[in-house]
């Protein structure tokens, strides 16, 4: 049963995973792999099933069907799980009346880890000054750091973080990015979820994109941008005339995006400009749109920004 050779170690494999909550299929036939040595972003709109997938992976939720393994084993079958996998799932899972240090020490006992490790990880996340204060007085950013300190107790090979940047200020996000990159650079696995494309673009090298419980795309950020054809954006007072002219061109697909705006696929800007000239149509703008990851994200997840956009402030998942 134990086939965790060197290549298996630290690899996360989700295979044909489904989870049904009553009438809701939160995760639907999901399969993907996360390799060690890089930071992987688990991206998807709120409610896409990211948290459920991570909770199944960590043995907190039982799957309806399929498997999720870390290093070839289910989480519950790992003999010393805290030494293999560290995870942060909620922004605050602490007793408010307990100090940060005592929180960690309680779990040192449970995991069979020496107590001094609690002070080490507090130092690692920069919480030493607040170690003996009750969590009640911690800011959201400090709670995130304490959660991360818990995840690091066993010096694990795999780090799994659910929406880790929620509530962090830009300084904190910068620190987190550096931390996650360094962690992955040492050959370990880092998987973090986010509903914010910005975050994933900034931190991750690989992405797994999820929408409505299903896998949409998996690969490096560079791979995702490939194969996307550039679009030509045109602003003109006579879009209908220009659209009619362009319709005669081979392979052109014209999309009306506003009362005076067109989006043209399949033609270079040069040809579009010439068509306008031939038709005698006045142009106010003619530009080629670079294939933007945001657009890809919206296209792939079929989410037209209904939740206020994937970029920018955004709300927390929980």
């Amino acid at each position: 049963m134990d086939e965790s050779g060197p290549t298996e170690t630290g690899r996360i494999v989700v295979s044909l995973l489904s989870k049904q909550f009553g009438p809701v299929r939160a995760v639907d036939d999901l399969s993907f792999t996360v390799e060690p040595g890089s930071v992987t972003g688990f991206l998807g709109p709120n409610g896409a099933g990211k948290t459920t997938t991570l909770r199944v992976l960590l043995g907190l939720v039982a799957p309806t069907s399929g498997t999720a393994t870390i290093g070839g084993r289910r989480y519950a079958d790992i003999p010393h799980p805290t030494r293999e996998v560290g995870a942060v799932l909620e922004s605050s899972s602490f007793h408010p009346a307990r100090t940060g240090r005592n929180h960690l020490r309680a779990y040192c006992s449970a995991a069979g880890i020496p107590d001094r490790r609690a002070d080490e990880v507090l130092d690692l996340v920069g919480l030493t000054p607040a170690a003996r204060r009750k969590v009640r007085g911690y800011s959201l950013g400090m709670r995130q750091r304490l959660g991360l300190a818990f995840a690091l107790l066993g010096d694990p090979r795999v780090l799994i973080l659910d929406e880790p940047a929620n509530g962090l200020d830009p300084e904190g996000i910068k620190w987190l990015r550096g931390f996650m990159r360094a962690y992955a650079a040492s050959g370990r696995t880092v998987l973090f979820s986010s509903h914010l494309l910005d975050e994933v673009e900034q931190i991750a090298e690989r992405v797994v994109i999820l929408s409505r419980g299903r896998l949409v795309r998996e690969g490096t950020l560079a791979e995702l941008g490939e194969g996307q054809e550039p679009a030509v954006v045109v602003l003109t007072p006579r879009p209908d005339t220009l659209a009619a002219e362009l319709a005669t061109a081979d392979g052109a697909r014209v999309e009306r995006t506003g009362p005076e705006a067109l989006r043209v696929l399949g033609l270079p800007a040069r040809v579009v400009g010439h068509a306008a000239f031939t038709a005698g149509v006045e142009l106010h703008e003619l530009r080629t749109e670079r294939s933007d990851l945001e657009q890809i994200y919206f296209q792939l997840t079929g989410d037209g920004g209904s939740e206020g956009g994937a970029r920018g402030e955004g709300g927390g998942e929980r």
Binding site: F21, R55, L60, V61, S93, R98, N102, Y107, A111, F150
Partner: protein
């Protein structure tokens, strides 16, 4: 398992609830001693006098007051895990939940024993000089008093198990505490007061079983034999332990 119990004890000792509930247990024990001694010999006290063996056994069962506080402490301890979401790190550190449940049961049995020992010490420290001053001879080794103290400690410990079960089942902290206190302070006293139910139901409830085990004498109430009460109380303990395991092991933590 030792490490897991240590983890649970640490969780318990690193918030202040245990201290205030211990103060409460000691206070209620003291109140019980004061009430029993002051009421002794009064004309309208239907209970046995303190000169009798029955009266002395009743006095020494007063440390059973710790039961209420131990059951509440256990409920607060279990429900806090759900309320503050610490159940997530708890299961991450110990994915085999049966071990977590077992560690919690062992922890609250130990807590019950410690609470009842401390309450018994206070009881002896109060009762011995007080009865001596009243000229009532009192020996801690006679009249089956060691057995009463032991029985009380065992029933307080079983209330710890009951608390773990109730907390795991109800999960809502306030609801679980209110439900349990209502049962202990409203339902049980009512059952013990209404004539027919008093004779036929009261003795089968945890309070009646604990009283029987502690060889208490209740005016107008019929109790089981001590061994029957002990078995019944143990049965309650097993039932609530099973309840704790069943409600914990398979449930999704979302």
């Amino acid at each position: 398992m030792t490490e897991l119990v240590r983890s649970e004890v640490r969780k318990l000792m690193t918030t202040q609830v245990w201290f205030w509930l211990l103060v409460g247990a000691l206070a209620l024990t003291a109140l019980g001693v004061v009430g029993t001694v002051l009421a002794d010999g009064s004309a309208d006290n239907p209970g046995p006098g303190l000169v009798t063996a029955e009266g002395q056994r009743n006095l020494f069962a007063q440390s059973g007051a710790a039961s209420v506080f131990v059951v509440v402490l256990a409920i607060i301890g279990i429900t806090a895990e759900y309320r503050h979401l610490t159940v997530t790190p708890t299961y991450l550190a110990t994915p085999r939940r049966s071990r977590v449940v077992l560690a919690k049961l062992v922890t609250y049995v130990l807590v019950g024993l410690v609470y009842s020992v401390l309450c018994a010490l206070l009881l002896v420290a109060m009762a011995k000089p007080w009865l001596a001053a009243k000229g009532i001879p009192l020996s801690l080794t006679e009249n089956r008093i060691p057995l009463v103290l032991l029985a009380t400690a065992v029933s307080v410990a079983i209330y710890g198990i009951v608390g773990v079960g109730v907390g795991a089942l109800v999960r809502n902290q306030v609801a679980a505490v209110v439900l349990t206190l209502s049962f202990l302070f409203v339902v049980e006293p009512l059952v013990a007061a209404i004539p027919w139910v008093r004779d036929h139901v009261h003795k089968f409830l945890p309070g009646g079983a604990a009283a029987a085990l502690a060889q208490s004498t209740q005016p107008n109430a019929t109790l089981l034999e001590p061994w029957q009460g002990g078995l019944l109380l143990a049965g309650y303990g097993v039932a609530f332990a099973v309840l704790a395991a069943m409600t914990t092991i398979r449930r999704d933590v979302t």
